[in-house]
Amino acid sequence: MATKGPVPEIVDPMTDPRTGEYAVIAPGHTFKSVTQKIAGIVLTSNTPVAWMGGLFLAATVALGVVIAVTWLVLKGVGIWGITIPGAWGFAIINFVWWIGIGHAGTLISAILLLFKQTWRNSINRFAEAMTIFAVVCAGMFPLLHIGRPWLGYWLLPYPNSMNVWPQFRSPLAWDVFAVSTYATISVVFWYIGMVPDLGTLRDRAKLPLAKYVYGILSLGWRGSTRHWIRYESASLLLAGLSTPLVLSVHTTISFDFAVAAMAGWHTTIFPPYFVAGAVYSGFAMVLTLAIPIRKFYHLEDLVTLRHLDNMAKVMLATGSIVAYGYGMEVFMSWYSASHWEFFMMWNRMFGPMGWAYWILILTNIAIPLTTLWSRKLRVNVGYLFFLSFVVNIGMWFERFVIVVTSLYRDYLPSSWGTYRATKWDYMLFIGTWGLFTTLFLLFARLAPMIPMSEIRMMLPQTKVRPGGADAEVVTQEAL
């Protein structure tokens, strides 16, 4: 460049001039402004019309679940497209997909807490909520798939007159415990994390009912130092307990496949590849939720471009692991020299359902992994929103390809069939989107979406200076 003299520096308030990194939260916030902003969303008496409309729409779609489940209970799983050999169908595809989505919430709340990634503070609460609602949607599918959901308690070990117990050496039994543990820990972690904020809401609420309900839920929180120390150590312990779950839940689910002696399933790469795929789709879903929410509630100061950039980077990393997994699957089907494996891969790519494989490669690998390297695109909100849908479609097709293309061309050509989902399959699946959105909208209206106490901790005013000597300066900053 031939320009001479000092180059005029572009001052972007959202970037740190020393590092050029985006700020985690916008400058100029005080304890009061953070609390007002977040608590205001919940405590306002004016429910936004768009929220009402969204809830109405989501609840209408969620009615699909009610109708589909009612008909299923009346008629049996025959109304679904499952057959022999394609016995797993949509139910298992959707189960794995929803559970996978939940994984990002646990990764954000547990692993990033242990690694002291403070940027997670802005997004952890609604990512955890997303986890819980995704597990709600996921848990429904295997329970319905067993055919007689009212006998679902048979999955649990309890003394009964038939003297029958679960078979603890089967991965399907581990699933029951993996998913129920996951649901329990996620709810406990989410709720414990919310207690100080519920205390804030109780103190600020005007309506007697709100005061009463938040008062009960806040468990007598007073914000004393003793409370905080116990709270902090409980959070750390819960993070420690959740951390293995990020890896183990989807590992166990991958065993449902990997333990079966089925071409395309019986492989040791499944656990890491499932976990990476889960985190990949989970971060995509966090973006799907975070982008409209920060726009709608004007939370751009708290959920900044830095968050979106970081999440896109996590997607790039996990997406690359997934791409490696796909590559390895293809390589191993050749290198194993197994006729069955080779046929499975050929059929997966060029068989009657080959289109699904190429959609998967396009949406999971080709589009995201070529574009996410560019920082410009990583902070382009519209593009990320689009990409989050693309990746979630891709991850759904991944499970579709795994479940369907291995099953419908099994070892015995005389038993080959095909798989066609019925309208009830679609109704239940689309209904769960409605259920998920309904639960999320209720959460956004009734609970603090962003942890106030953790955001307060990130403000520069919280720094304790020795001796309280320069307190005057800080007072000026705080006010």
């Binding site: 304890f31 609390t35 070990p157 003297n163 029958v164 117990w165 679960p166 078979q167 603890f168 050496r169 089967s170 581990w174 804030t200 007073r222 914000g223 004393s224 130092t225 003793r226 905080w228 120390i229 116990r230 709270y231 902090e232 150590s233 409980a234 312990l237 307990l241 293995p244 890896l247 183990s248 590992t251 166990t252 991958s254 065993f255 990997a258 492989t267 040791t268 790469i269 499944f270 656990p271 890491p272 106490s453 953790e454 307060r456 901790m457 005013q461 919280t462 720094k463 304790v464 200076r465 020795p466 001796g467 309280g468 000597a469 320069d470 307190a471 800080v474 007072t475 705080a478 006010l479």
Partner: protein
Amino acid sequence: MPPREGVYGLLAEFNTPSELVHATEMAHRAGYRRMECYTPYPVEQAAEALRFHKTRVPLLCLLGGLCGLTTGALLEIWVNVWGYPLNIRAMPLFFFFFDFVCWPLGGVWHDCAEWIAAAVSSAVQCAKLCEWSNDG
């Protein structure tokens, strides 16, 4: 009940965490012990100034975890070995325990465990076969 005579307690408000921590430290040095700080977010230094930075939460958590682990393991052992033993591809009855320990570690370890279990179980079966052939 008549109101209590004299000073019940003292309350002070501070604008910054630095002032709060400083005042707490000073009060502690002056010999005050029954104190508490109230903050809108955790202030570790305040806890140190109060000399309250160790809790029994981790101990309780460990005890709870150990209870759960023991109960779960005993339940599984009882169900699989005594209550309802099933012969699944000749795997040892305590086989689940390998998985129980190994599943977080991923498929490779699972396979190692399976090989060990298979080796043990085939050794046991060989021994049994030998016994039977000796009997015959």
